[in-house]
């Protein structure tokens, strides 16, 4: 662990299912201690990508290294160093949280102490409760406890808060942030912008299997995407001007001609994200990827 070599290295990764190309030519690296979100709409290829990194799926092309090893060929020693938070209801109904974690801890060479892990996910009051009797949010916390019981160097979470109520999401985010503070490298997928904003130093945006951005969220879309927009209508139709000085534009407009429906817009993160996705929906995806330089 002394080296600061990347924890995850993905180069020109692609994956096809028959004729369908789910992931095309994706490359990124993640350094130790980073917390990164893979962001994208449903069906963008997020789960395919993270499952290739977890060793659950095979790749069609490119190269993938997690902790220096190709997950497809990894063995038990590698799995002892990674943590996976799966989204799967129904398993282990009959045992208590303590019984389950004691059991799974035995598989790992250097597990976290069980009661400490239960405390970390906020389930100490339910420690002796059987899983069948837990709420959905509590079950999810058990999933996280299972992911971190082996004291992993990397933790993967696939859409961890889907189906949560707002309060449960807040609590879950606090939990993940505490893991980041401990130095765990985290890669999660989400389709919630606010989740990526809260949990990640960096967002990797995927749409239609293609990487369209890889940068800290505040830099998404590059400086140009944040430039205010002035919009108005006149007899020639709608107009739109991007400007650093919207006041001057409005002033000139006011003095010179007829206009209606005047708007000055300062694009928010969601606007930027959605316009990125819209741009990606068009065929020319590569231009948008210039925002990669921001990282």
């Amino acid at each position: 662990m002394a080296s600061s070599a990347p924890v995850i290295e993905v180069a020109n990764l692609s994956k096809s299912y028959g004729d369908v190309q789910a992931v095309r030519d994706i490359s990124f690296t993640i350094d130790p201690g980073e917390s990164v979100a893979i962001l994208g709409p449903n069906g963008a290829g997020k789960t395919t990508t993270i499952e290739i990194l977890e060793g659950y799926r095979t790749k069609s092309g490119g190269s993938v290294r997690v902790l220096g090893i190709d997950p497809e060929k990894a063995g038990a020693n590698w799995r002892a160093k990674i943590g996976i938070v799966l989204q799967q209801p129904g398993a282990f109904e009959e045992v208590t949280i303590t019984e389950l974690l004691n059991q799974v801890a035995a598989y790992y060479p250097h597990p976290r102490p069980v009661s400490e892990t239960i405390a970390a996910v906020g389930l100490t009051p339910q420690a002796e409760t059987r899983l069948a009797k837990l709420s959905g949010g509590q079950r999810r916390r058990v999933d996280v406890a299972l992911g971190i019981i082996g004291d992993p160097q990397v933790l993967f979470l696939d859409e961890p808060t889907t189906g949560f109520d707002p309060e449960a999401r807040r609590e879950f985010w606090d939990l993940i942030r505490s893991l980041t503070a401990e130095g765990t490298t985290i890669l999660l997928t989400t389709h919630y912008l606010d989740e990526a904003e809260h949990l990640s130093d960096r967002a990797i945006v995927i749409a239609h299997g293609t990487l369209i951005a890889d940068c800290p969220l505040p830099e998404l879309g590059g400086p140009e995407a944040r430039t205010p927009l002035v919009r108005w209508q006149d007899d020639d139709g709608p107009h739109e001007v991007r400007t650093e000085d919207p006041g001057q534009v409005v002033y000139d407009l006011h003095g010179s001609r007829q206009y209606r429906d005047l708007e000055v817009i300062r694009p928010g993160l969601e606007d930027i994200y959605l316009s990125l996705l819209r741009a990606a929906n068009g065929s020319d995806v590569t231009n948008v990827a210039s925002s990669q330089e921001a990282s």
């Binding site: 060793g55 659950y56 799995r79 129904g90 045992v95 598989y107």
Partner: protein, 262 residues
């Protein structure tokens, strides 16, 4: 990783989970006990081939049936469910060796199967006044046929768990194998009353030999003349069951995957 130690840890977890599942306790653990009660009661006025009572005939039959149900039906449904509900996917993401998982499953079958067989013997003796053998050699036969049978049926159950395609269909896929084997192997129907061709067919499978081995432990030696060969054939019993153990283990080795990587 220390596979035997982890296998013991898994066995403890499996046994605990098993006895907390009411459906499993009822349809796997207690089912042969109920069947023994039904047969012994329903046929109480009947005399079975060889001049013995129904409860005497059905004790070894239900012990053999319990071995098949605990191993093949129990694990067939259990492992198929774990494969299809994502439990195995979870294990795939941990360093748990497959060998330790198998040891835990077989350990559960051996522990619960022994408890089940002893419960059957106890109920037969207490409730139906079946005389128990006093010769230690017969108990030794009971012990090795029981344990060899449990391990063999356990492997066959894990191999069979490959077949179901949805969680809902696991029981429907596994049950026919178990039921048909019981009907043709002298468990529900006295073996000597089956047509010879069916006897020959059943002799290809382990349950017929398991039941015969159990009869040799519990029935008087004079009863051996009712067997098709006129003898207990314990050597063949061991050979056929062991052959199926190898078949089950090899099939599992060839077909078992935590997950099918796509």
């Amino acid at each position: 990783m220390n596979i035997p130690r982890l296998g013991a840890v898994r066995t403890g977890f499996e046994v605990k989970t098993y006895f907390r599942r009411t459906d499993e306790v009822f349809f796997t653990f207690l089912f042969p006990v109920m069947m023994l009660t039904i047969f012994a009661t329903a046929f109480s006025s009947m005399t079975m081939p060889g001049g013995i009572s129904a409860s005497e005939y059905y004790l070894p039959a239900m012990v053999a049936s319990g071995v098949l149900i605990s191993g093949m039906q129990g694990l067939g449904i259990d492992v198929a469910t774990e494969r299809l509900d994502g439990t195995l996917k979870r294990y795939a993401g941990t360093p748990l060796p497959q060998g330790a998982y198998f040891l835990g499953k077989l350990g559960k079958v051996v522990v619960t199967g022994i408890a089940q067989a002893l419960l059957l013997v106890l109920i037969a003796a207490v409730a139906f006044r079946v005389g128990l053998p006093s010769d230690p050699a017969r108990w030794l036969t009971f012990a090795w046929v029981l344990i060899l049978g449990l391990v063999t049926c356990g492997w066959l159950g894990i191999a069979l768990a490959r077949l179901p395609k949805t969680v809902k269909s696991t029981t429907a896929v596994v049950l026919p194998f178990v039921l048909i084997l019981q009907f043709i192997s002298g468990v529900y129907l006295p073996f000597s009353q089956l047509p010879t061709w069916l006897q020959n067919f059943a002799a290809l499978f382990p349950l017929k030999w398991l039941a015969q081995g159990m009869r040799s432990a519990f029935l008087p030696d004079s009863w051996a003349s009712v067997e098709p060969a006129g003898a207990w054939e314990l050597g063949t019993v061991a050979l056929v069951i062991a052959a199926w153990l190898v078949i089950g283990a090899v099939l599992t080795r060839l077909t078992f995957r935590w997950i099918v990587k796509s």
